[in-house]
Subunit: 189 residues, 6 copies
């Protein structure tokens, strides 16, 4: 299946990438064993590539009241709601690994309300879906519900920020027809 | 995870099932190596169980202009649109096996428009989604589009019938909180 | 108006139908005085015909905590929401007869919230509409609301089952352009 | 059923109405044999009553390229889409009489796309539904489609004006829980 | 920009208008300094013009528990929800003047939930949006919420009536491509 | 109105900001004459601030086949569709200035289909709205439509990228209740 394009747009050869991008791409390849196609697709636009991954890392790599598994769960759930194949497949794989749970990604991608999650996680995902679908209606009561589940205001920003960022990512992936690497499908199963 | 209930409703012991149902359940267990939870959940209502599987088999087991893989693709796609975890997980597994394709189920469950499918299959799924979401608007032009892809009127009935039947199944699964067997998640990968 | 087709698909002559189907069709004709077109339309597919009516009878003819009028009210309401002309006209007629109420069918088909119904029936129809439109969001609170109105868990299955089954029926009727018999329009008025 | 209120709001006694309103109400009673509840409900607000019926008559009573049956068909169809019980029941009755067709009102109220109508009427109702649901997207192509069916620009204004006016009426009827008179249900059947 | 048409339909010369309409148009011109295009557009249909402005004045000019600013706020908010450029621009201007607030119109047109308004006004606008988008679901609880904010039943009729009337107006403006006068954009800023 | 908070979250004093952020904020203040609240709100999260503005500048400041006015038109239109008060008010102001057009921002924020724009701009905004609302359905035909209006594939990426980025921005602004500066409302009028 290597002949299927990974993007509607030209994908630069790794040796033609700016040095900082090449370095980042090689590092991810060494760590993951392959280059996730989002790196190749966005390398077509180096400045957007840099901003995209800086934003990603600021939300997904930092210390947070949300575990890394929680964060990937937000990504997989909202990407499912946005019908984004790339993000569901890629972040579903990471979620399985982070949560050490073979079932959770397929569960939340289809219907998080029926997933093996805690009431706290359910509240977190309810809020993420509201940010994704109807952010204009968010109000004090939403904050109070989350606070009642032990989320701090900074945790709530993290939920909203991750949802908003992957809303961008979902739209870019759908628009470019970004293709998930075959490797992701079986990871963590 | 065996302690999680597979249905909101009582699940009968296999030995307490009516003979014909018990026979069908044991046959599927022998073939699949496990009992899909839809059999256990619906056995709570024997008459509905019998009608459900008679309907299922009339559409899914018969000769048709649609391959068995095509039929499972319709099920997985429309069940994704209906956010039905049981059907996406269970029929996604069967789709992988029928289509001998490890990727196809996750692709169509999230966004069939970006899946590795033929234009004919795309037209088939466009129509299935219309039957699922807006059957009241189906008109002659929809039939003409499908005929242009080589579907006979009987094939079109099959697409619509499968979609309508699994619309029923999706609603029953969501309503009963029917849980997909863990076995399905890794089948065919 | 007898020249208008009752289905997009061929309708078999009653004498060409398999014996069991012919028997069922003649029985309904004797009882009702005419053959409802759903019998003729589905007779094009004998196996689906058998499963469809077995399912129908399992839900609509059995003993239940829901009266037969309540059950027809669910059908008419959800068929209205699904814009299904056949089911609104045919089951609206049956509802008028079952409920001995000339007004109720037109009321619930358009807006059950303004119909002459009890709070218990309102809760029943609220749930049916949720099963029809957003089954993936059904949760414990929905069951508690219904239990507060005196519905048993088996009654709740009946509400959901009837809704899910007629969701199938609505899609089949819309897809085949199944035409309601003229007889239904004035029955029970 | 006379004890059910016809409006959430006080309904004035006919003898307490301003003279011009009383005259109009008595005239309609003489013609129809009963007083449609919209007259009684809106008489609570005499100035709005006067403007409402002036608007109604300007659209529904004047000479037009649309027959009176066509106009009632627009009202019944869009009132069905707006789930307005009063207008579907009352104008459905008038439609049956104007069109001399016992079936047409129930057909268009549920799904005009499956009704016994001409392609010209289908185009008329497609446009009315667009004015009702998504007027902001109306564009030149919509006018061209209607012109292709022989509608003049003045006819098109009539379609849109009737739809817009009954959109107001539907909202008032739903908000006041305006109850259709029992008489309407059987008229013209 | 004077060459851009103000309506898809012919606009009569002021001297060709019926005397009563001409008088009303000249009066508004004298007061406002220009003729709002809604007067010119609707003058194409004198009877509808008369009914439209009679309705408008009955709701917008009378004594009410709602201030004139509150009423214009309802118009601007629901016209925003209906994507009606004419009404947002024209009534936004009047709202700025009535409320003596340069910011309020742009706030409520985009998202009234984030506007500088009181909880009472928020409840008023929540209800107006419900009348506009889902009048069929209005129920006793909605009235109780408003009563809890001090609205009388007559005030509630005013909210609903204004919303319903401008729903008509929004559809007419969108359908005719009615153009807001340039003058409105800067009024009250 | 200075007492109204500009964000649900703490806003750092400019002297407590990291040096690079402080420099950027002071530069924008010098240029604009005031500090747009998005800078103050996001300064609560320095890493996200940096990534956000890097992304913004990569799309909005670079050379492009889209003029700066076109880009602001995309932002204002899609922010209107997302009901984002901050972005409609702030970018509407910039749009007025870039386009040297006092009317255009209010027009596109409410209904771009009725705005004073070219067919090419209409196609651009149709596509932006599709990226915003239904990116999963974008297909080859959308690209062909845009190419027919003279857009290059790189221009199309710009339209989609700007829409996706401001989708993130809209969700962040709505979630934080980010308040537009009063200054924006009158700019460019």
């Amino acid at each position: 299946m290597t002949s299927v394009p990974i993007s509607r747009y030209p994908v630069p050869d790794i040796n033609d990438m700016p040095e900082d991008i090449k370095t980042k791409v090689l590092a991810v390849q060494e760590k993951a064993g392959f280059i996730p196609n989002v790196f190749l697709t966005l390398a077509h636009r180096p400045d957007e590539f840099r901003a995209f991954f800086a934003f990603h890392d600021a939300l997904m790599e930092k210390e947070s009241g949300l575990s890394k598994a929680d964060r990937e769960m937000i990504v997989t759930t909202t990407s499912g709601a946005n019908n984004c194949q790339y993000c569901v497949v890629a972040h579903g794989a990471i979620l399985r690994i982070r949560a050490k749970n073979k079932l959770i990604a397929d569960q939340v991608a289809t219907n998080y309300r029926k997933a093996d999650i805690t009431p706290r996680q359910m509240a977190m995902l309810d809020f993420a879906i509201k940010v994704s679908n109807a952010a204009e209606t968010i109000c004090d009561a939403d904050f109070e519900t989350l606070q009642g589940h032990g989320f701090s205001d900074e945790d709530i920003w993290d939920i909203a920020g991750i949802t908003a960022f992957f809303g961008l990512s979902n739209r870019m992936a759908n628009f470019t027809s970004m293709r998930p690497n075959d490797d992701f499908y079986s990871m963590g199963r």
